[in-house]
């Protein structure tokens, strides 16, 4: 296994491979929008995404600044994501739409599943490979590495993985790209980069 790139984003900043990239002023309410604007992207679907999908999308775009993701076979790039709160933030907004605002909102309902973000990444990048979304108590490097190994042994040659969380206390995404060939101590690298 070889660690190709990482991106961590939260309102505190964006970090590409451990180095801060100036894409928004930290602690602003609208940091995701500001980040999108400063990345000079033209992808109007972004504005409709929920917070999970926005963070996964932005992190992927930031990694793309350094890594050409199109080099991976469209069928063999695997997307493995996890969090603890599932789609909690959108779940509460959806409940609010019918309990307070008067009618269940279809565009919120479709985001009440955490794996929608892998669909957004697949659409944006034309990735047809395998996807899986796990609900985990906390970011667990060993669990991710175990899953990545499963997919590598089934024929995948790269995994784009992410811990992406959105709840009342916390909004963060830690994305990492791993290739099959190579022998590195990824566990330590990832643990350090996630804590950043």
């Amino acid at each position: 296994m070889k660690l190709i790139g990482t991106c961590k984003i939260s309102k505190n900043g964006a970090f590409l491979n451990g180095k801060e990239v100036e894409l928004f002023s930290s602690d602003t309410e609208n940091w995701k929008k500001e980040c999108y604007t400063n990345l000079n992207l033209d992808y109007s679907k972004f504005h409709k995404m929920d917070s999970l999908a926005k963070m996964a999308f932005l992190s992927t775009e930031i990694i793309k600044k350094e890594v050409d993701l199109s080099k991976y076979d469209e069928n063999e790039l695997t997307l493995l994501f996890a969090n603890n709160s599932s789609s909690l933030t959108t779940d509460l907004k959806f409940i609010n739409s019918y309990e307070v605002k008067g009618s269940p909102s279809p565009s919120l309902f479709v985001y009440t599943l955490p794996n929608i973000l892998t669909g957004e990444l697949a659409i944006r990048n034309k990735w047809y490979g395998e996807n899986c979304f796990f609900i985990e108590e906390k970011f667990d490097v060993e669990f991710f590495l175990e899953q990545i190994n499963f997919y590598f042994s089934k024929g995948s040659n790269a995994c784009l993985c992410g811990w992406v969380e959105s709840n009342k206390k916390n909004e963060e995404c830690f994305l990492f790209l791993i290739e099959k060939n190579g022998k590195e101590n990824i566990k330590e690298q990832l643990t350090t980069l996630y804590k950043q």
């Binding site: 469209e74 069928n75 997307l79 603890n84 709160s85 599932s86 909690l88 779940d91 509460l92 959806f94 409940i95 019918y98 009618s103 269940p104 909102s105 279809p106 309902f109 479709v110 009440t112 599943l113 955490p114 794996n115 929608i116 973000l117 892998t118 669909g119 957004e120 697949a122 659409i123 990048n125 034309k126 990735w127 047809y128 490979g129 395998e130 996807n131 899986c132 979304f133 796990f134 609900i135 985990e136 108590e137 669990f143 175990e146 899953q147 190994n149 499963f150 042994s153 089934k154 024929g155």
Partner: protein, 357 residues
């Protein structure tokens, strides 16, 4: 792989369920005031569940069935891994974490030694969970992998599908010309995967499986069946099976126009247009995270009994490709079967099972 447990609107174990299905019983019935504007939607509701605490009650009951059937030893072993498939888990716990009660109940009831793996990947969760279980066994770290699929009815989910204009106002008719949409249901299904046979029950061999994204739309299926086509091809390859070796398909078949049409296109592209298939959503409704499990268990029952169940609700071809949807129960020995699922997020998954001779 063998039977674990199965609780649905028409039965509280796999034998009861299969007899009810042979009698063409459907668990889908009108539920008063279930809609946002107090509509009476047809839903697959388990009548014995209490109004409150439905999820925890069902999960606890499912665990009790597992231990009474198989004993506690296979669950509290450190060579056992449990994988759960659920889309929404316990929504009654909102605004708090909806998945934590799952871990607590499973740990208490089954005495698990290892961490619990939870997969929440929309309607394909169940099939992916079985694929993941097979990965764990192949890694040789575990002797047993238990897969539990569960989801219960809630206003949240019913109002959501209602807001998408996806609900049918009559019991659903997958693949039929007059299909009107989905009926939501609730269920729990569990299977046990092991390297060796664990009892005298019927076992099937897991040959391979995969998933693939449509890369097209987050809630609408691909018009070309792209992801399903790619996933089935990958599963066939992994299982070292050709499409003409497939004797039967347990399809997804939700009863919506776009989904069922998409499946017919994918099966046509795969050379599976003449292969007998059914959708079991007419019996249980669409049980989301439980669907893959209860449909695999029902398919195993069909293999065990050499009887293919008809696709309840289907009368007349309603897809552009004339796939072979079963109108009547059929006595036929089947050896190799394909299970498919498709869902929100553009996900598609499939797996292939073979009768153990």
């Amino acid at each position: 792989m063998t039977y674990g447990s199965m609780i649905t609107p028409i039965g509280s174990n796999s034998v009861e369920n299969f007899s009810a299905m042979l009698r063409e019983e459907s668990g889908v019935d009108f539920v008063e005031n279930s809609g946002f504007n107090n509509e009476n939607w047809p839903l697959g509701k388990i009548k014995s569940l209490p109004n409150k605490n439905r999820y925890n009650t069902l999960l606890t009951e499912g665990c009790k069935q597992l231990t009474s059937k198989h004993g506690k030893e296979i669950f509290d072993s450190d060579e056992t891994i449990v994988i759960v498939s659920s889309t929404k888990a316990n929504l009654e716990d909102l605004p708090n974490d909806t998945f934590s009660s799952t871990r607590n109940i499973l740990t208490d009831e089954l005495g698990l030694k290892n961490k619990i793996v939870i997969i929440s990947n929309a309607c394909i969760s169940g099939v992916i969970a079985i694929n993941t279980a097979a990965d764990y066994l192949q890694s040789n770290r575990y002797k047993t992998a238990v897969v539990i699929g569960i989801d219960v009815l809630s206003d949240f989910v019913v109002y959501g599908f209602q807001s998408l204009f996806a609900l049918s106002n009559e019991p659903s008719k997958p693949f039929d010309k007059n299909r009107k949409g989905i009926c939501i249901g609730e269920a729990l299904g569990a299977v046990i995967l092991t390297k060796e046979k664990i009892n005298d029950d019927f076992h099937v061999e897991y040959l391979g499986g995969s998933s693939s994204n449509d890369a097209n739309h987050i809630s609408g299926p691909s018009r070309t069946g792209e992801g399903l086509f790619r996933s089935v091809n990958k599963s066939l390859e992994r299982a070292s099976v050709k499409s003409n070796d497939i004797d039967f398909i347990s399809a997804h078949g939700t009863g919506t126009n776009y989904n069922d049409e998409m499946e017919s296109i994918a099966f046509d592209r795969l050379g599976l247009i003449a292969t007998p298939l059914n959708s079991l959503k007419g019996y249980f409704g669409h049980t989301l995270g439980a669907a893959g499990l209860i449909e695999v268990i029902s398919t195993m029952k069909m293999m065990e009994n050499n009887t293919l169940l008809k696709s309840v609700g289907f009368e007349e071809t309603g897809t552009s490709r004339p796939i072979n949807v079963l109108k009547n129960n059929l006595n036929k020995e089947i050896t190799t079967v394909l299970k498919t699922a498709s869902g929100f997020g553009g996900g598609n998954a499939s797996l292939i099972l073979k009768k153990v001779q």
